[in-house]
């Protein structure tokens, strides 16, 4: 859903509907929108990080398997 990274309010409403949110709750959605935008800023920052050579196994054992000494 966040491939485009930045969204306007209209797109946000489309995504909200796809996510199953109730579009009749306008006040709620108006308050939610800036929080989604803030998250997209974090996603943008993380997307820019170079991770080409990083593969994932089990995330829950990420520390245990890799760094326990």
């Amino acid at each position: 859903m966040d491939r485009e990274i930045q969204i306007d309010f209209e797109t946000f409403l489309v995504l909200s509907k796809q996510a199953g949110l109730d579009l009749s709750q306008e006040k709620h959605l108006t308050e939610l929108f800036p929080e989604v935008q803030a998250m997209f800023q974090r996603i943008r920052l993380v997307a820019q990080s170079e991770t080409t050579h990083i593969g994932l196994g089990s995330m829950t054992n990420l520390i245990d398997t890799e760094h326990r000494k």
């Binding site: 859903m1 996510a19 989604v36 997209f40 990080s49 990083i54 990420l62 520390i63 760094h67 326990r68």
Partner: protein, 470 residues
């Protein structure tokens, strides 16, 4: 001893008196219950008090000890339990009305481990709804108050755990930490908060917020009390998919040995972009102190802290949305509107972005681990600010306006994201008289060394002995 003297004892002190039969577990509990009765109208640290239940348990402990069946340092010592740890036959609300009538059929691993040690639950403690808030607000159960100033937040999400220990309503408490929820309230309330390495303490029977970031932790008056608790809490548990298969060890064994040639690293970046001047001053005073007792303190570049923080936020929010998906869609109006929005944000994060955040997390772990070749411990302030007002949604820091949530969690979240052990210790006060926390962190599974270092700080300072006058 009079009731005030009894509730002033640390766990280590109380245990020593109980072992010698100098004090009675029943008298100890009675002193706590009287204090709870007097202070709760102001503090609101408990969601559920268990006075009668606890008294029965204290009487049982007393009978066992008198009969010569002493089980060890937690025998007859009450614990406060954050209200997301399952307690068999006792309601566990997770700070929500959705779960208010949930009565678990078994105990969480952490609670069961304390019970085996002879301890018992004194009550279920206040928390932010589903542990997804850094303040002590709760839409359903009312706000809990900072014992140093009732107009201030106690921090969250383990708000009741910090308040009960700081106000001497309980000698020690269980909490959880996903973005800082043990260390942050510990710092704002002037007590000690230990977040062990990810996987060291089982999360079986703990309502999840984020499976790959949740940690069980301990809030106590001293590092020694917290390390003693770790002796009973740490250990492999196949019921927790994140549990680490580590060797049992005694976290108190080397506590009184001063660390040799201690090297402390202080990040040059990120931390100082948003920081209250009083907090900064208290932090650097603590570093000056550590130098005066033989440590080497050096500033170091850790350029990925902001990135790490962002990755943690993405992971935490995605996992929270996955856990709450059905309820948030069908019963969203039963959540605190703030928590509801925070969870719903996760519905907008794609699988691709979630996985990229996990890869960044992995990269941050690798990068951070390499830093520990040059230092033993990384030190930061625990929180950027002293406790803000209960109702503040935004705070001004050096002319910059930031959300209270960001100001409270931006430093602690880094070590939750990478899962490294971290401890918050009291290290001073703001000009408003609110406690300031010093955070010490180290490499994975160096929890014993970290406790030793933190204990050394407490043995050479007296900040942890200062308590609110109530």
């Amino acid at each position: 001893m009079n009731p005030e003297e009894l509730t002033n004892l640390t766990v280590v002190e109380a245990a020593s008196y109980i072992a010698k039969k100098t004090i009675s577990p029943v008298d100890l509990l009675d002193a706590y219950l009287k204090r709870i009765e007097r202070l709760e109208p102001q503090l609101n640290a408990f969601i559920l008090r268990l006075d009668s239940y606890a008294m029965e348990k204290a009487k049982t402990a007393e009978r066992e000890i008198v009969a010569g069946n002493y089980r060890g340092p937690f025998h007859g010592i009450p614990i406060g339990v954050k209200d997301l740890f399952w307690t068999e036959g006792i309601a566990t609300s997770s700070g929500s009305i959705l779960e208010a009538s949930f009565v678990p059929k078994e105990d969480s691993a952490a609670v069961a481990n304390f019970y085996r040690a002879g301890s018992y639950c004194i009550g279920k403690l206040h928390m932010s709804e589903f542990a997804f808030n850094g303040t002590s607000r709760n839409h359903h159960y009312g706000p809990s108050k900072n014992p140093w100033d009732f107009s201030k937040t106690a921090g969250g999400s383990s708000s009741g755990s910090a308040i009960s220990v700081a106000s001497q309503e309980a000698p020690i408490a269980l909490g959880t930490d996903t973005g800082g929820s043990v260390r942050l309230p510990a710092a704002l309330c002037g007590i000690t908060g230990i977040k062990p390495t990810f996987g060291l303490v089982s999360r079986f029977g703990v309502t999840p917020l984020s499976w790959s970031m949740d940690h069980v932790g301990v809030l106590s008056r001293t590092v020694h009390d917290g390390a003693l608790a770790l002796n009973f809490l740490a250990g492999f548990d196949q019921r927790d998919p994140g549990s680490a298969n580590t060797k049992k060890q005694d976290y108190t064994r080397d506590l009184d040995i001063p660390p040799r040639k201690l090297r402390i690293g202080v990040p040059k970046d990120f931390i100082w972009e948003v920081i209250d001047q009083d907090v900064k001053q208290a932090f650097w005073n603590s570093m000056t102190h550590m130098e005066s007792v033989g440590a080497e303190v050096k500033e170091m570049s850790i350029p990925f802290l902001e990135l790490c923080n962002a990755a943690g936020s993405i992971v935490q929010t995605s996992e929270a949305a996955a856990y709450h998906h059905d309820n948030i869609i069908s019963q969203g109006d039963k959540y605190d509107p703030t928590i509801r929005r925070r969870i719903e944000v996760g519905l907008f994060i794609s699988a691709e972005s979630y996985l990229q955040a996990q890869r960044v997390r992995y990269k941050c772990i690798k990068d951070m681990i390499s830093l520990f070749e040059d230092v033993d411990v990384i030190a930061t302030p625990t929180v950027s600010i002293g406790a803000p007002n209960l109702t503040d949604a935004w705070v001004q820091i050096n002319g910059k306006e930031v959300t209270t949530r960001e100001a409270l969690l931006r430093i602690t979240r880094v070590f939750s994201t990478i899962g490294f052990p971290a401890i918050s210790l009291p290290c001073g006060f703001t000009n408003e008289g609110m406690p300031v926390g010093l955070q010490l962190a180290s490499r994975p599974f160096s929890d014993a060394m970290l406790a030793q270092t933190a204990n050394f700080y407490q043995q050479t300072t007296s900040w942890h002995t200062q308590l609110p006058k109530l």
